[in-house]
């Protein structure tokens, strides 16, 4: 039997519905296969992680901390002077 005869025989013998069903199933297999591969790659490449933020905040107000300390010292000295002098 020649090749052209075999081809023509196959074309005639396989119903169109069967070819259509097989084609649909092939497409489904390819889609699921791609989905599976992408799913696996996703699992392996992106480890589950979690992020959260914290903050450090303050406000610098006018004045000099050293001056304030000195002022407080002066107040203490004044209070001591007052307490020692009746």
């Amino acid at each position: 039997m020649k090749e052209s005869d075999i081809t023509s025989t196959l074309k005639e013998d396989i119903p169109k519905k069967t070819v259509l069903v097989l084609l649909v199933m092939a497409i489904v297999i390819v889609a699921l296969g791609i989905w599976t591969i992408l799913d696996r790659i996703g699992y392996s490449q992106i480890p589950p992680q979690s992020s959260s933020g914290g903050e450090v905040k303050l406000k610098i107000v006018p004045g000099n901390a050293v001056d304030n300390i000195e002022t407080l010292s002066n107040v203490d000295e004044a209070q001591q002077t007052l307490s020692t002098n009746p």
């Binding site: 097989l22 297999i29 992680q49 903050e55 450090v56 905040k57 610098i60 050293v66």
Partner: protein, 254 residues
């Protein structure tokens, strides 16, 4: 005629076999994919449960030093610390939780990071601004913004290490939050800080990612670390609100 019937039979047989293979392949792929989505199913009276790993961390507190003045004398710069109970320039006392847990506006006891997932996690810290980005000073002379990491919570009553005050090697890692990672042999970084400022391994903050705990435990207890901060202001730092954000990322430890 006989050949034609024989050929059709074989073709039909091939088609049937092919169809069976296709159906099995579809079913196999479907089951394979769905296997990871199913958390429990029954087979022959045995309940199989697949618990998914959840890497999750939570930041329980911010640091607010409050309002204060700074020194403009280069030889006597103002420093404040989350470990300090007598910070310069009227900034908050950070040795106690000011106003309680629900009052973060006056609290500066450190940033507490908790593992609220169900796997050990590797925690990293990343600063939004480095030292030069945080301070507005022109000279930056003496400017410093450092951090250190302590095991346990910020109220210092969670782990045995906090209560007794020694390192992992003395207490044993089962009583610590940050365990030693068997693969990297790392736990807390920078290591060696002790409680209550007896010694703190202050390290300059960075905008690069820095691993602070390689194996943070999970569960109701022993699942937190606290990040402490220490700042020194340059004498020419202008007044105003200063803020820096830190991002903590937890990834399942390997």
């Amino acid at each position: 005629m006989g050949e034609t019937v024989k050929g059709e039979n074989s073709k039909n047989m091939i088609l049937k076999v092919f169809a069976v293979i296709v159906i099995l392949a579809v079913a196999g792929i479907f089951i394979n994919v769905m296997k990871n989505k199913i958390t429990g199913f029954v087979t022959s009276g045995i309940v199989e449960v697949n618990v998914e790993a959840i890497s999750s961390l939570n930041v329980n507190s911010d640091v607010y030093f409050g309002n204060g003045t700074i020194s403009n004398v280069p030889s006597n710069l103002t420093s404040i610390s989350t470990e300090g109970d007598d910070n310069d320039g009227a900034f908050n006392n950070c040795s106690v939780i000011n106003g309680g847990v629900d009052d973060p506006g006056r609290d500066c006891t450190g940033i507490e990071v908790e593992n609220n997932g169900n796997v050990y996690i590797n925690v990293t810290i990343t600063a939004l601004n480095g030292v030069s980005g945080f301070f507005s000073s022109q000279s930056l002379i003496g400017a410093n913004f450092t951090f250190a990491v302590l095991d346990g919570n910020r109220t210092k009553n969670e782990t045995a290490i906090q209560i007794v005050g020694y390192g992992n090697d003395v207490i044993g890692e089962n009583n610590a939050s940050c365990h030693v990672n068997g693969n990297t042999n790392q736990s807390i970084e920078p290591k060696g800080s002790y409680l209550n400022s007896s010694w703190m391994n202050w390290t300059t903050i960075s905008t690069d990612s820095y691993a602070i705990c390689s194996n943070l435990s999970f569960g109701d207890g022993n699942d937190t670390i606290t990040i402490e901060f220490n700042l020194t202001f340059p004498a020419d730092e202008p007044v105003g609100l200063k803020s820096n954000s830190f991002t903590f990322t937890g990834v399942q430890a390997e």
